[in-house]
């Protein structure tokens, strides 16, 4: 049908609604949907019949809402926020904000002269655990009010958690790099530990929950690395080149755990 066009008699009979069989009407309507020429012909015939159809057409138009797609007229800022919400869950916003405030304070302390020993930087000490608060809010009943709804959707699961983790890293890591660049300190010390903590949180979190894992890891890091470093004025071994193989092992173990158990986020 698409190669041919409706004859003018056929179109006329279609408009006037007489003596076309059902299959003819059907075929014609399918053709009209894709053929501008025939639609124009129909419109001409309808216009010619204006006295007969005018009132009906006006009535239909008056009941149609012509304001366009509902919700399409929102501001650019609002549209950005919504697009962002498909990456960073809205439940993560306060935790990300808190993380950024803490990091900013650490950075300012580093800038404001050296209360610490040379080579020791608060930012470097906190950087490895920086993504953990945001990740903790990525999946779980306790931090996300909508969790019960999310858990029953097809998009729930490992993919969504990874998507949200990426959002956290994108929010935190570039700022850390920028801060390091501004003060002239090296980023090499904390980048691998940061990745290690991220993967370990996800891996262990798939077993015991993200929030609990994040709390435990933050506690351990503070007790075993941050406080001793500050007390002894020496950067802990965990943040020096010697520990690289250890961090690689952590990344590997976390990845294995995540591949084995990450499915549990989708369904039990």
């Amino acid at each position: 049908m698409s190669a041919e066009h409706g004859s003018s008699t056929m179109l006329r009979r279609y408009v006037l609604g007489d003596a076309l069989s059902t299959d003819q009407v059907w075929a014609l309507e399918v053709h009209l949907e894709s053929c501008a020429r025939c639609r124009a012909a129909v419109a001409d015939i309808v216009a010619g019949q204006r006295p007969r159809f005018g009132q009906v057409i006006d009535e239909v138009w008056s009941t149609l809402d012509t304001t366009g797609v509902p919700g399409a007229r929102r501001s650019r800022w609002r549209r950005c926020t919504l697009a962002l919400a498909t990456w960073a869950s809205p439940a993560m916003t306060p935790w990300l904000g808190m993380t950024l405030v803490v990091l900013a304070l650490a950075w300012l302390a580093d800038l404001a002269g050296q209360p610490l020993a040379p080579g020791l930087s608060l930012l470097t000490l906190f950087a490895p655990i920086a993504p953990l608060l945001g990740i903790a809010a990525a999946w779980g009943r306790s931090l996300d009010p909508v969790h019960e709804l999310v858990a029953a959707t097809p998009l729930a699961g490992l993919n969504l958690v990874l998507r949200r983790t990426v959002a956290v890293l994108v929010a935190v890591v570039p700022l850390l790099l920028l801060a390091n660049w501004a003060t002239g300190t090296t980023s090499a010390l904390w980048l691998l530990p940061c990745l290690g903590f991220t993967v370990a949180t996800l891996g262990i979190g798939s077993l015991i929950g993200l929030l609990r894992t994040a709390m435990i890891l933050i506690g351990l890091w503070t007790a075993l690395v941050v406080l001793p470093s500050l007390a002894t004025d020496q950067l802990s071994i965990a943040l020096q080149a010697a520990s690289v193989p250890g961090w690689l092992a952590v990344v590997a173990a976390g990845t294995v755990l995540l591949t084995l158990k990450g499915k549990r986020w989708f369904a039990w």
């Binding site: 949907e33 797609v69 009010p145 909508v146 709804l149 097809p154 989708f266």
Partner: protein, 269 residues
């Protein structure tokens, strides 16, 4: 634009019941809240009645695939939920309103329902229209672009219903949907239930007996994790003993059946 009709849209249904369970056991914490429940539900509105702690919420959560069944069979749309592979497709056809319904206060009604539609993997081009329709169906069109923190409890409940029906689900699970609705809204809500129930399997858990009598085509009475009674609202009314406590025939039916169930099990415990 020509809309393509997919093969799955015209495929015949291959199941007798949208929901079928057999000796279903589900734990809530350590307690077996659903204990050996066997039931089947087809198209229509099914009211799940029962006293507090009877296992209604646990049952609905298991039906929503949020809780794992401990034992027994749970089939949704002819498909066992213990098979992980098909679960994703299955969840696209589910609508779920939990009892404790959380929300993001800074989102507008429309944004929230859109976000849920996105999570339910609806095609991008369908979302705007489907969201508007869902919001209109629950009667919130005039508040659609207001922030959720400005809404009253009953309105929030209706947003919850809107997000549940936005994907046009084949199985709609509503846990205490009438809480916080005023009488006029409850009437409106019953209309919506009847309308949706003509081609969908709707499960409504409630402790309001009169809701069930008015809007449901099928009543299930659950107590201590077991099915006590399944039948039409009329059968529930007929079961009522005139001496039983209750202000309406349906309430008397409810208390008669529950008392009988207690008497039956009371001796063994």
């Amino acid at each position: 634009m020509v809309r393509m009709v997919g093969a799955d849209e015209v495929a015949p249904t291959r199941f007798a019941w949208q929901i079928r369970t057999e000796r279903l056991q589900v734990r809530a914490g350590r307690r077996l809240a659903v204990n050996g429940l066997t039931l089947s539900m087809g198209t229509g509105v099914h009211g799940v009645l029962g006293p507090n702690g009877a296992g209604k919420t646990t049952l609905i959560r298991a039906l929503a695939t949020v809780l794992r069944p401990d034992d027994g069979v749970l089939e949704l749309l002819g498909q066992s939920t213990s098979v992980r592979a098909g679960l994703r497709d299955l969840r696209r056809k589910l609508g779920y309103l939990p009892q404790s319904f959380g929300y993001y206060p800074r989102f507008t009604v429309r944004e929230f329902v859109e976000y849920m539609a996105w999570l339910k993997e609806m095609p991008k081009t369908d979302i705007a229209g489907a969201v508007q329709q869902a919001i209109e169906r629950v009667g919130l069109a005039n508040r659609a672009d207001e922030k959720m923190k400005t809404l009253s409890g009953g309105m929030l409940r209706r947003v919850g219903v809107a997000q549940a029906i936005v994907n046009d689900p084949a199985v709609l699970l509503l846990d205490e949907p009438t809480v916080g609705l005023d009488p006029a809204q409850r009437l409106q809500f019953r209309d919506l239930l009847r309308q949706v129930g003509t081609d969908t399997c709707v499960v409504v858990s409630t402790h309001l007996v009169e809701d069930v009598a008015a809007a449901c085509s099928d009543v299930l009475l659950v107590d201590e994790g077991r099915l006590v009674f399944q039948g039409t609202p009329e059968q529930l009314t007929e079961a009522g003993d005139d001496a039983a406590p209750g202000d309406s025939p349906t309430e008397r039916g409810y208390s008669t059946l529950l008392a009988a169930h207690h008497a039956q099990n009371g001796g063994s415990r």
